[in-house]
């Protein structure tokens, strides 16, 4: 149809349209979020698209759609698949009738993640096919064909792009958007969909029996392919294959693994024809383990012998170094170019005017000896403000908090969690804390949106993924129905009230909830809310540094004295912090 310059995730979303997708659900997570965002922003939408409350919810909804015979997609980041792992494992037994594709985006180097786990392990674990694209174009093509593959084998298909596929751009050759959509019909079949022991034992056998043909089919479809060019070879998977091709000498053979499970016979045939094989793949040695099993006399290089790193993401330089070490001269040698030492870091930071900053500030003022479990979101950046003591996974702020409180630790525990994360997996933890009598404060950082991943709406926002007004929900009512009797909602821009609320919370026992509520400063600006910026009266500024600890990027310092830059969003909290009244609204001197 047309060649366009597209983000990997945009190409993937377009491929879903080409494949006549009928249903899409997901929970936002970098680097996967833009796929649903592109689908929900389509002008013509002859399909259902939803942001779900968590990945398990998204998975089960999409699975059910596929049981009704329509084509379904569900998207998440790699750690989201942990949340959805329960239905994942058994969906391999039940299978599907409509094509079902699970997009789980991995994040080598953990650019925006809490770990570097490998989705291919889940595919192996569940015995499901997994597609692993090497380029943006291939991501598009594989996704376009994945629904048909799912229908052909009757199984969900896992689609595993990595950050450098999702967030790379390139020239992508697109096909036409499909126009044929199916009518959903659930056909009752308890032997397939009711996994009581008597049924599931049979289904397990069926799943295992599908494997040999599946492996051969993935070779037939060209996902796993090789070219024999010499006595040495590289086996590469995913985006690493692109880096390999950049530096591979002409006389070294190449096998590209783009799909799992790998056909061992196909692989053994390739490996056997070479004296040495180097395996290059990011994250886990998934391919390498199969290569080592297949190899009879071939010398194998990879992660297990230390030739290739286990952690982080690769570049052509990583591959060149590995080739060198394995004795296969790369076509390019990269200079050892080290960064200039001592350049002050510029980490990401909460925006000027962000509602989390005053909340953290007040929390630390009141709970000086507090322990601060936190969660996954923009507010994890509160680490820089000394307001984040733990972060492990979605929803764990409340459970880790109650665990610390119930362990016998006597200092006060104040957990912070965003609105979307609270709705994702925070609620069961709150219910548990009340039920078991934990003594703790939970602060819900309610900015009305899922901000960090690109401002996706959630049930608390008041609109659905497609912009339709949704039934209003109340965080206050949810907390009270979990059994919390002390719930206070406060405007975090109002520092005196915020401090007072925390002080009153401190005096009480049991589970206390403070809902700090103010729209995300980015969405507020986009929706036209304008606040007047503040300025510093240089005659009144004493250079005391009280505002320095607030850590706002709009406050700069010349020698000791504060100035306010053009980044000021007008939240006015620093004016309340300044002990000499030197911070004032612009034009109010």
């Amino acid at each position: 149809m047309a060649i366009r310059y597209l983000l990997g995730n945009e190409g993937i979303a377009h491929a879903c349209l080409e494949a006549n997708i009928d249903f899409a659900s997901g929970y936002p997570g970098t680097p996967s979020s833009e796929v649903i965002d592109v689908l929900r922003m389509q002008k013509e939408r002859p399909f259902t698209v939803e942001w779900s409350t968590n990945e398990k919810v998204a998975f089960e909804n999409a699975l059910a759609a596929a049981w009704c015979g329509v084509r379904a997609l569900c998207t998440m980041k790699h750690v989201g698949l942990n949340v959805a792992a329960d239905p994942l494992m058994t969906s391999a037994y039940t299978g599907v009738t409509g094509g079902f594709v699970i997009l789980s985006a991995d994040d080598p180097f953990a650019h925006s993640s809490q770990n570097e786990q490998d989705t291919r392990r889940y595919a192996h674990f569940a015995r499901l096919p997994c597609l692993d694209p090497a380029s943006v174009q291939e991501a598009h093509d594989m996704m376009r064909d994945a629904f048909a593959l799912s229908e052909e084998v009757g199984l969900p298909v896992i689609f595993r792009p990595t950050t450098r596929i999702c967030h790379s751009k390139g020239d992508v050759d697109l096909g036409e958007v499909g126009t044929v959509h199916r009518a959903a019909e659930f056909r009752r079949d308890p032997k397939q969909y009711v996994v009581i022991p008597a049924h599931t034992r049979v289904l397990h056998k069926v799943l295992n029996e599908k494997q040999p043909a599946l492996k051969r089919r993935l070779v037939e479809l060209g996902y796993n392919r090789h070219t024999v060019r010499g006595r040495t070879a590289v086996v590469a998977s995913g985006v690493s294959a692109a880096y390999v091709q950049e530096v591979l000498p002409d006389d070294v053979s190449l096998a590209i693994v783009g799909a799992y499970p790998i056909d061992e016979e196909w692989l053994a045939d390739f490996v056997d024809r070479h004296e040495k094989v180097l395996v290059v793949e990011e994250l886990d040695p998934v391919v390498e383990e199969v290569v080592r099993q297949a190899a009879t006399k071939t010398e194998v290089f990879g992660k297990i012998d230390g030739t290739v790193p286990y952690e982080g993401e690769f570049t052509p330089a990583t591959v060149a170094a590995a080739l060198e070490q394995a004795g296969m001269a790369p076509t390019a040698n990269f200079p050892a170019a080290a960064p200039v030492p001592g350049v002050p870091p510029r980490p990401p930071i909460l925006c000027a005017g962000c509602m989390h900053r005053p909340t953290f500030y007040a929390m630390r003022k009141v709970f000086r000896d507090g322990i601060f479990p936190s969660d996954i979101g923009c507010y994890t950046l509160g680490l820089q403000l000394g307001a984040v003591d733990t972060t492990i996974c979605m929803g764990a702020s409340i459970t880790v908090g109650s665990g610390i409180a119930r362990s016998g630790e006597e200092r006060p525990v104040v957990s912070t969690i965003g609105d979307s994360t609270f709705l994702h997996t925070g609620i069961p933890g709150l219910l548990n804390a009340v039920y078991n009598g934990a003594d703790m404060v939970v602060v819900i950082l309610d900015n009305r949106i899922t901000a960090m991943t690109g401002h996706q709406p959630n049930p608390n926002t008041g609109v659905t993924a497609t912009g339709v007004e949704s039934t209003p929900i109340s965080l206050d009512a949810i907390c009270r129905s979990c059994g919390v009797s002390w719930v206070e909602t406060v405007d975090p821009y109002d520092l005196p009230v915020l401090l007072d609320t925390f002080r009153r919370a401190k005096e009480r026992k049991g589970v206390r909830v403070v809902i700090a509520k103010q729209p995300c400063v980015i969405t507020a600006r986009r929706s036209g809310i304008k606040r007047k910026p503040y300025t510093v009266d240089p005659e009144r500024c004493t250079g005391c540094g009280a505002c320095r600890s607030f850590g706002c990027p709009a406050i700069a310092f010349v020698d000791k004295n504060a100035t306010i830059t053009e980044l000021c969003a007008g939240c006015g909290v620093c004016a309340d912090i300044c002990p000499s009244g030197a911070i004032i609204l612009e034009g109010r001197r």
């Binding site: 983000l7 692109a242 200039v340 350049v343 930071i349 320095r548």
Partner: protein, 195 residues
Amino acid sequence: MKPSFDVLIVGIGGQGTVLASNVLGEACIIENRTVRSAETHGMAQRGGSVESHIRIDGKHGSLIVPGTADLLIAFDLLEALRYRHYLPVGGKLVVNRHLVVPTSVYQQDLDVPDEESILAALADLDVTCIDAASLAEEAGSILSQNIVMLGAASGDIPLRPETLEEAVRRCVPPKTVEVNTVAFRIGREKGAGTP
């Protein structure tokens, strides 16, 4: 000779590095050339240091290896220093004469180099220094600094200036096409005029 022309655009989240890299990508499509690029998304972009890799005529991966970039465009002096190792010695740098001090510097009381010492540390590169803010204001909007910078670097980019201008028109918000077209031209003149 490597097959692609590799441009690294660096700055601070919110300065418009992604838009600038989109212009280069779009220009490649207009000229029927292949392109690969990589950007920063997610948490890392909140006011932090960001980088866009653009490989004009790229056919494989999107990442540029340090020491091999053909051009570095930096929207901030400190970011120029942070990423200068992507260029070989003598490589081409187009940098905005502007320095935003990271907030962490104030909080942790770190030393931050001043403009003069940064420029001294970059002296072994082929440097063009641009006052993007005043040129953007001259063009009609302070928000067009990213396009000013792209214009200033465009003489070193193997894409036709008319293609780049067309790409600017396609990539910027419709209401700002005029301002950004002027910004590109002013930047281009300034970039060519600096020895």
